[in-house]
């Protein structure tokens, strides 16, 4: 293999993204789903880094996107976990299929 380039990182990020998608589709535990979402986010971040590094080295836009992404991901995770905990209090379960109270 020659020089590590854009394509290598894109392959990693793609794989990681769809691993996350797989996890999101198959897991029924809400915390596990949240973890899968984190994987997806990180795959995206990796893409930003790769494009910034290899295609537009003159700017730092990708980097800033990642920083904001991470901040938002943190907020999202915090809110999601708050919701999950509250749900657990009410239903004694965090299985996604058990939360059907509001279903018609």
């Amino acid at each position: 293999m020659n020089e590590i380039g854009l394509m290598h990182i894109l392959v990693i990020s793609t794989s990681l993204f769809f691993i996350g998608v797989y996890g999101f589709l198959t897991r029924r535990n809400m915390i596990s789903m949240l973890m899968s979402v984190e994987l997806i986010l990180n795959a995206v971040n990796l893409n930003f880094v790769a494009f910034n590094k290899f295609l537009y080295p003159g700017q730092l836009s990708g980097l800033f996107f990642i920083i904001f992404n991470i901040a938002i991901a943190a907020a999202e995770a915090a809110v999601a976990i708050a919701i999950i905990i509250n749900l657990y209090r009410n239903h004694r379960s965090i299985d996604i299929n058990d939360a059907t109270t509001m279903k018609f």
């Binding site: 998608v21 589709l25 029924r28 996604i96 059907t100």
Partner: protein
């Protein structure tokens, strides 16, 4: 006629009173509903009396001929330049005669019902139905258009249905009302097809148009080639119309509903099933009489033979029945048969038209004395609380006025001079004698039977044994009141007086087949035989039934087979039941029902169950689960991308 539109009030007043009673009165002022209906009918009667006077004595006659006057006509549904369904009012001698008699009898019945129905919780409903019926019947006779007549014809059927089934908690009344409705409805199918045939070939729905076209010789010639099973289409049309008429007028073999219709309140029987509605069939034949005589004498032959057969047949049954209302019902069939065959043997115009005149005359007198008979029977039933002759007897002292009026009516129907029935019946017999001897002999035999069975009825009710309280309510209050209340007696007295004098009206001066005056004189020599035979019938009844004895039973056993047959109404009901239940239901109804249930319903049910299961499956997709949606999203995305790639490369 000046200011003629007030004639429209004659049918409008009853319908207004119907609406008022049915919509408002029934709830807010039920006590005076009877009075309200009676008053509106009284006004209606007064107006029609004025109209009759104006028509017959002032304006109707032009050059010695009574013209048809169309008071008012409104094209309701225009089909083409010739054919339209109109709403209108037609005055001619028979319609004027009919509106007078209808409003009069209806008024009598309204007054009578004030007493008869007193205390019935649904008296307001009863009066609303009576008003509806009167409206429909008046609309029927005033129709200018055959389709308008058909509409009112059906309305009459509906109100008759409502009134027969008035005591709807009684299963027999419900069955009777259904029977009446279905049988007449079945006959009306013939009427409707007849209307369509007539209007198709004559290109008109108007009575005047039909008559004008159908009696035109060139038109008759042009139709000669159009025939079906050996009879011209117009004959078929008229026969079908007559089937409709036979259904309403209870002619054989569609008579089966009328005896059962006696389940309704007795005044209703007097009004609908004796005096007015049942003569609708006679009226339609009379209305189309020129077509019958000129174009289709074959159809008229059918009318004549059906009439005489029904007449004889019903008279035979009437001799054996014990329910007094049923006897009267069969007697009604018999008398309408008289009117029918009188029309059937009649010709058009002048002396030839004697049968027509006699038929209308008999219609007129029969309405009066048959209403009287029914109302009298109603009084008796009101008193005895039973319809069966066996529960009666010796009532003449207890109910003197009823007894007297009933006797008058019996003499009238038996054709004893100088009561009303004598004159009209003599003319019918004379008309029959002049045209068809076979019918004449059958008719005179029937007339004798008539005298016998009405006096059998009379003696059984008012003579025979002494009235004892063998319905064990010895202290029942009705024993004390004796005679019926005044509101019931008044109509009896009025009708009784009219039954005596109605025959003296020179009827031929007013109503004849062509509108010209027809002078009739009594042929005394001819009248001897019928009167003697009638008296013979009365004498026989006197012998058999004045005192309780076993002669009737011996007579019955001597004629056992025949007697049993007549007692069971010659098994016509059973034949109908056999045909409908065994033949039609099994051979047509069941397969049709099977086809309907399995094929028609089955395919529909199949579609619905498929839709249900399919939508259930789709609903499963729409699960509300986020993960499922994501999965679909990705699957769809991939499918879409693959499609794009496939199309690009």
């Amino acid at each position: 006629m000046p200011e003629t539109i007030y004639i429209a009030l004659i049918p409008l007043l009853p319908i207004l009173s119907f609406l008022l009673i049915a919509l408002v009165g029934r709830r807010y002022f039920p006590q005076i509903c009877g009075l309200l209906g009676t008053l509106s009918l009284l006004s209606s009667f007064v107006i029609s009396a004025i109209v009759a006077y104006q028509y017959f004595f002032v304006v109707g006659k032009v050059n010695g001929i009574y013209k048809q006057i169309i008071v008012f006509k409104y094209a309701w549904l225009q089909f083409n330049s010739n054919i339209s369904i109109d709403m209108g009012l037609l005055l001619d001698p028979i319609s004027v005669m009919m509106i007078s008699i209808i409003t009069f009898i209806s008024l009598m019945v309204h007054i009578y019902s004030l007493g008869y129905m007193k205390g019935d919780p649904r008296i307001s409903t009863y009066y609303s139905f009576l008003s509806l019926f009167t409206f429909s019947m008046l609309g029927l006779v005033l129709s200018t258009n055959i389709f308008q007549m058909y509409i009112f014809w059906e309305l009459v059927g509906v109100s008759s249905f409502l009134l027969i089934g008035f005591y709807y908690t009684k299963p027999s009344a419900v069955a009777a009302s259904k029977k009446a409705f279905i049988v007449t409805r079945f006959a009306d199918l013939g009427f409707l097809i007849g209307i369509l045939i007539l209007s198709y070939y004559t290109d008109s729905l108007d009575f005047q148009g039909i008559i004008k076209k159908a009696t035109d010789p060139s038109f008759i010639g042009s139709l000669a080639s159009v025939s079906f099973m050996g009879l011209s289409v117009l004959t078929w049309g008229l026969v079908l119309v007559f089937i409709g008429g036979a259904g309403k007028s209870a002619m054989f073999p569609l008579h089966i509903w009328l005896p059962d219709a006696m389940e309704g309140p007795t005044p209703v029987s007097a009004l609908i099933h004796a005096a007015t509605m049942v003569v609708a069939g006679v009226y339609i034949v009379a209305r189309l009489f020129p077509v019958f005589t000129f174009t289709c004498p074959d159809a008229l032959q059918v009318v004549a033979y059906v009439g005489i057969f029904s007449s004889l047949f019903a008279a035979l049954i009437a001799c054996t029945q014990t329910d007094i209302k049923r006897v009267l019902a069969y007697s009604t069939i018999s008398q309408i048969g008289f009117m029918m065959f009188a029309l059937g043997v009649s010709g058009y115009g002048g002396e030839q038209g004697l049968g027509f005149m006699a038929s209308m005359f008999h219609l007129f007198t029969h309405s009066i004395f048959k209403a009287l008979l029914f109302l009298g029977a109603g009084s008796v039933i009101h008193y005895v609380h039973s319809n069966d002759m066996k529960d009666m007897g010796g009532l003449r002292k207890l109910m003197p006025i009823t007894h007297l009026t009933f006797l008058i009516a019996c003499l009238a129907i038996a054709g004893v001079p100088p009561f009303a029935g004598f004159f009209s019946k003599e003319e019918i017999l004379l008309a029959a004698w002049q045209s068809n001897k076979l019918i004449f002999y059958a008719a005179i035999f029937t007339a004798t039977l008539t005298a016998f069975y009405v006096f059998r009825l009379y003696f059984q009710i008012f003579w025979s044994k002494t009235f004892s309280a063998h319905h064990d309510q010895s202290d029942a209050p009705e024993h004390k009141h004796g005679e019926a209340p005044f509101s019931m007696l008044l109509p009896l007295i009025i009708l009784g007086l009219l039954s005596i004098v109605a025959g003296l009206v020179p009827f031929g001066h007013f109503v004849s087949s062509d509108g010209e005056v027809l002078n009739t004189e009594l042929h005394l020599g001819f009248s001897i035989a019928p009167v003697v035979l009638g008296l013979l019938g009365i004498g026989l009844a006197l012998l058999f039934y004045k005192k309780e004895n076993d002669k009737p039973n011996r007579m019955a056993s001597a004629l056992s087979g025949f007697y049993t047959g007549a007692l069971h109404k010659f098994y016509i009901d059973e034949i109908y039941l056999f045909v409908t239940r065994k033949v039609i239901f099994n051979l047509i109804g069941r397969p049709a029902a099977w086809f309907d249930k399995t094929v028609v319903d089955g395919s529909m049910n199949g579609i619905t169950s498929f839709t249900t299961s399919f939508s259930g499956w789709i609903k499963g997709i729409q699960s509300g689960k986020l993960q499922d949606y994501t999965l679909y999203f990705f699957s769809g995305l991939i499918g879409f991308v693959l499609l794009v790639i496939y199309l690009w490369t």
